[in-house]
């Protein structure tokens, strides 16, 4: 009996003009968003590869630790084509600097200009949240009160079918008729993605994709159940429709736009200049410490520092200079790391209220199924701000490991930190103090001869350069991002709200329908 009822609902829904029109729109948009998103992904993938190659090239050429500045890369995630969130399908990198830690990783994209960012983007989840949810409402708003108006409800109930079976048939039939179009557009989007050779899904991605489909089903089911509940609560379909549409407008468009604005002006934003001020004080303090150290340990005469100097790397300096520099580094680098940690803390304190505004938007999403659904999909695709912060935290942890490792190697107080000169490498000026002022002048014959010698040495070096030994560099771990279990934990509140409200709507429909007056 239930099967017959479900079949009747399914056919009544699927063979209507309104479904055909809505479906045509939805498929068109899905194709558009998936296709353009896929093109953008390829573009971002190329940039990511380019950036990686540049980095590989760079570290193969680096010969002193000072110049290393390791980078951690996060590849563009194919899932973010369907669920853009903050990442827009771009990869990201996190660079380890001595003096600076960033709050979030740096996206590798050309699209983060002010201008492009201020335009709102659309993806598969938008299509589901706006268009398919509308379809769910259209299917549900007159399912009960419409039949009453047409008088068919009385006929239906005259049969020896329990009311619970009738309403269950309506519910399941309606759910299936909204899930079939969803499956269709999901497959269309997936096919477009798979047609792109740059897109490769890992096992984890497949689980997340299935998750995305399931929460889309749950979300649409919830909206359908809600409209069914409204239908069961009203006597005529016009009222039911108006109520449903206003709900849709408030939940879909209203909350999405009002919540961020309220968050933006409801939370106090500490001005950026406060950070700049504290930063200046911090570095003044650091410079004071260094100055005090240098007063105690005077720097050798400038003439000892003659040689080549490029981006923190020294060559052909006098051993005395190297010895002093290494001692200074042994003191200064530790202080510098401390300072950069403190700087990160004040920067974070300055920026977190801004992040808090963005996170509030996600938290308030429980007020609207549309927004809850979108936030859940971003969490699945790992494209929320919280995911970015999580990633950065992992990167910070690695940064600590990296400097611990360097410290363990004794590199900080060693000349290998800033020079690749071999211990027996002759300096540019063997004994600066015995040199007469005339000879020490840059254009003297003596200096010209030494310069020519240095050029020769440089050429010899480039022909047999050896890079740093990075074989025991700390491992990054499998992935900087959240694993599936962590993502699911993150999603629990949103999922609970969706499930509970779905359950509540179903209960409401059941209860109302059992006492519903089918009379005209």
């Amino acid at each position: 009996m239930l099967a017959t009822l479900i079949r009747k609902e399914l056919l009544a829904n699927l063979l209507t003009m309104r479904l055909a029109v809505a479906l045509a729109f939805t498929v068109l948009l899905t194709v558009l968003t998936a296709f353009i998103g896929s093109l953008e992904y390829s573009h971002n993938w190329d940039l990511y590869e380019l950036e990686r190659q540049k980095y590989e090239q760079k570290i193969s050429e680096v010969t002193v630790w000072n110049q290393l500045e390791p980078m951690l890369f996060v590849a563009p995630q194919p899932l973010s084509i369907l669920s853009r969130g903050l990442s827009d399908g771009a990869g990201a990198h996190y660079t380890v600097f001595l003096h600076w830690m960033s709050v979030t990783p740096h996206p590798i994209t050309t699209a983060d200009t002010d201008l492009m960012q201020s335009l709102v983007r659309i993806d598969f989840t938008t299509v589901v949240a706006i268009l398919l949810s509308f379809l769910a409402i259209v299917l549900g708003y007159d399912a009960i009160c419409g039949e009453r108006e047409r008088g068919t409800l009385q006929l239906l109930l005259a049969n020896s079918v329990p009311r619970s079976t009738v309403v269950l048939g309506k519910l399941i039939g309606g759910l299936l008729s909204i899930w079939i179009p969803l499956a269709l557009v999901f497959v269309v989007a997936l096919l477009i993605l798979l047609a792109n050779p740059d897109v490769t899904f890992t096992g984890d991605d497949w689980f997340r994709l299935i998750g995305l489909f399931l929460i889309s089903c749950l979300f649409l089911g919830q909206v359908f159940a809600l409209s069914l509940a409204v239908s069961a609560c009203s006597r005529d379909s016009a009222t039911s429709l108006i109520v449903c549409l206003f709900f849709w407008l408030i939940a879909g468009v209203g909350i999405l736009n009002v919540a961020p604005s309220l968050a933006r002006y409801g939370v106090d934003e500490p001005p950026f200049f406060e950070f700049l001020q504290q930063d200046r004080e911090l570095w003044d303090e650091y410079n004071g410490l260094i100055e005090a150290w240098e007063n105690k340990n005077p720097r050798p005469d400038d003439s000892y520092f003659k040689g080549l100097q490029a981006k923190g790397r020294m060559r052909y300096h006098h051993p005395l200079a190297y010895e002093w520099q290494a001692r200074r580094n042994g003191f200064a680098l530790e202080k510098r790391l401390e300072a950069s940690d403190r700087r990160f803390k004040i920067f974070r304190a300055n920026q977190m209220p801004l992040a808090e505004e963005a996170l509030l938007v996600d938290k308030w999403s429980v007020a609207s199924p549309m927004v809850t659904y979108q936030v859940l999909s971003y969490q699945l695709a790992r494209t929320t701000l919280a995911d970015n912060l999580y990633l950065a935290n992992n990167a910070h942890r690695w940064r600590t490991d990296y400097y611990d490792w360097l410290r363990g190697k004794g590199v900080f107080a060693d000349r290998s930190f800033f020079t690749d000169d071999l211990p027996h490498q002759e300096p540019l000026i063997p004994d600066p103090l015995s040199l007469s002022p005339d000879d020490a002048a840059p254009d003297s014959e003596y200096m010209r001869g030494r310069m020519a010698w240095m050029q020769q040495e440089e050429e010899r070096r480039t022909s047999n350069a050896t890079g740093l030994d990075l074989t025991d560099l700390p491992k990054v771990g499998t992935d900087l991002r959240r694993d599936l279990a962590a993502s699911l934990t993150e999603m629990v509140p949103g999922l609970a709200v969706l499930l509970l409200s779905f359950g509540a709507c179903v209960m409401l429909v059941m209860m109302r329908f059992l006492t519903y007056d089918p009379g005209r």
Binding site: E40, L245, N257, S261
Partner: protein, 376 residues
């Protein structure tokens, strides 16, 4: 419903304007303090001048890119140096810029147009389904007059609702003391409602036309809602994707791309000009003119001093005489005149009027050709 959004608008902008005012005055006083340190021509030439764009005052009506675009121009008088630089001085939260802000434009664009559809989807088909339409048409009344009458009554109802909502929002803004109504703002409001009325008319007439064409309220509603979603949500959002694909963008900047970027940004800024009254482009032009004014002032001062080597504009090669920092020209942005604002918005305004006219012809012909027989 409509007032609800306007209340939200009032509250948000009361908070926002308060913050903006505090921030701008802080920026201004900071800069004034720096400038007061200048005591001779030398210092005046070597330094950067911060020129800040004012708030337009009508941001609660239409925000445009005011939240994101650069609002500050730094200029210096020195020759042979980079002479201009622009950026943003006020705090911007880049993490939530994927969201729009609730200004009046958003309310009209999304909510009012939605109400148009809800009010008018059964404008013709409803009467047809109930059989009332045939009875009405049996009277000596032309179809055109019937359509015009019904559409006009809906139109005036919506506009009155919008005006009431706007009044609520204005009340909040005025009573919290962040806004003082002046001629400039009133003109903005008037222009806004003029533009909105064309927009509302276009949506109403479109709905009426579809209603007549489909002859069934349910189908009419589905078609209209989808059209609404595509016109107001989907097409604007697709602009980003379209922009991404049509403009080729190289990772490494070069001059050509800077030009391109500036050009696009200016074009976008111009879109907001008609009602935002201070276009970004105009602000930049004013900033450049102000740089000239500073240079002229400095060269005048230098010419007065016979001992100066007169090598303009290089620090250390100009007059060493003391200079009163208060005399340096002070930048005050001149708001774009209404005429210029409207002129800049001519194309969109004309398109809007054309759309309303198109809606009228569509509704009219659809209704005139409608077969009335067969209503239930």
């Amino acid at each position: 419903m409509l007032p609800l959004f306007f209340v939200a608008n009032g509250v948000i902008y009361a908070l926002k304007i308060e913050r903006d005012v505090a921030e701008i005055s802080r920026i201004d006083s900071e800069f004034a303090e720096k400038i007061s340190e200048v005591s001779e021509l030398n210092g005046a030439i070597g330094r950067w001048y911060r020129l800040t764009a004012r708030s337009t005052g009508t941001e609660f009506i239409t925000e445009g890119g005011a939240n994101w675009f650069s609002d500050t121009y730094w200029v210096n008088a020195q020759s042979g140096n980079r002479s201009t630089e622009y950026g943003r001085s006020r705090t911007t939260n880049h993490w939530i810029r994927r969201f729009e802000i609730v200004d009046w434009t958003l309310i009209v664009r999304l909510i009012l147009s939605f109400l148009c559809v809800v009010m008018a989807y059964d404008l013709i088909s409803g009467g047809h389904e109930q059989g009332v339409l045939r009875l009405t048409m049996a009277n000596p009344i032309s179809r055109g007059a019937y359509l015009a009458g019904r559409a006009l009554s809906q139109f005036s109802m919506l506009m009155v609702a919008a005006a009431l909502g706007a009044t609520v929002s204005l009340l909040i803004l005025v009573t919290t003391g962040v806004l003082t109504l002046d001629a400039h703002i009133l003109r903005g409001i008037l222009l806004f409602f003029l533009g909105s009325s064309f927009y509302v008319a276009a949506f109403l007439l479109l709905s009426a036309g579809v209603s007549a064409l489909t002859r069934s309220s349910a189908t009419s509603l589905v078609v209209l809602m989808l059209t609404w979603a595509v016109l107001t949500v989907v097409i604007p959002q697709t602009a980003y994707l379209y922009g991404m694909q049509t403009v080729d963008f190289d990772y490494d900047w070069n001059d050509k791309q800077w030009d391109l970027r500036n050009e696009t940004e200016n074009a976008l800024a111009q879109d907001g000009i008609s009602l935002r009254d201070s276009g970004r482009k105009d602000f930049f032009a004013q900033a450049i003119r102000h740089r000239e004014a500073i240079r002229q002032f400095l060269s005048g001062r230098d010419a007065d001093d016979a001992d100066s080597p007169h090598v303009l504009f290089l620090p250390d090669y100009v007059s060493k005489k003391p200079l009163d920092s208060k005399l340096i020209p002070h930048f005050q942005q001149v708001p774009l005149s209404t005429a210029d604002g409207v002129a800049a918005g001519v194309v969109p305004i004309v398109i809007l009027i054309l759309e309303a006219a198109l809606g009228f012809f569509f509704a009219f012909t659809a209704f005139l050709r409608m077969e009335l027989a067969g209503g239930s």
